[in-house]
Symmetry: C2
Subunit: 148 residues, 2 copies
Amino acid sequence: MQERMDQIKKQLHTENFKLTPQREATLRVLLENEEAHLSAEEIFMLVKQKASDIGLATVYRTLDLLCDLKIIEKLNFGDGVARYEFRSEDHPHHHHHLICLKCGSLFEIEDLLDDLEERVERDHKFKIVDHRVSFLGYCFSCLAKEGN
Amino acid sequence: MQERMDQIKKQLHTENFKLTPQREATLRVLLENEEAHLSAEEIFMLVKQKASDIGLATVYRTLDLLCDLKIIEKLNFGDGVARYEFRSEDHPHHHHHLICLKCGSLFEIEDLLDDLEERVERDHKFKIVDHRVSFLGYCFSCLAKEGN
DNA sequence: CTACATGCAAATTGTTTGCAGTGTT
DNA sequence: AACACTGCAAACAATTTGCATGTAG
């Protein structure tokens, strides 16, 4: 985790961005909650809890910057807030989300679309560079509760 | 097209909703642009162009109503506006979108996920009721232009 | 030092809501 | 007459921006 942090610091440096305490704190929160799909507001509050003072606008600006640098990715689950996800190398960016319509929990599953993409590219003469996939439904524990 | 219109009118009636000129005009715009994935604002302007007076809030309320009635579907392409799509019977609601990152054009392709969904349900104990899929990339004509 | 970054508050954007007035049944 | 429906404007929530000040390099 620290190595990842250092690597990003170096990347910021190389591209002539300053490494401010706010940026570092934001990155740290992101790294410590890699699985959480935090929103800007949530990141903002987590950074503030760590005593680090920061403004919401700065969080947004930092997240934009990290998106530009391809360090994180902006996600949209249709709930009205943008969420952000780390692009770690073991986790390149192709995986899918299962969203429970009952309890709102979110699961990640492996990518299943590779061969499908090939077919789409061939059939529709369309060069695919990314995809966004969410499955909506009911998770195991909600099914168990409801018997539904 | 008129038959579809009449059918919807009847449905509204059956469910005790009034068929106001505003609702009719909104529906007509939706029907006349079935392929367009219009936003609320776009629908609003198209209705006004047809001389029919309407308020933006009414458009939103009508779209909400039509969503509740499963006549249309609210879509999210991550561009910050909700878009709406007709649910015609030949077009039930499971299909995917190809979004060109260059020119922004949008293509629809057939559903390809049925067997994949079965696998996900089995492997993850998750009851899928819907999915949202978009492929991002470059369309044929942009590829041709750029040579990219 | 000096350009880039920040904080704050005001501005924007998309959407929702309250309410008084209107129109269908 | 009752009640759903409308328009308008105000309210909202998420995000962006302008600007005076602060600070990393």
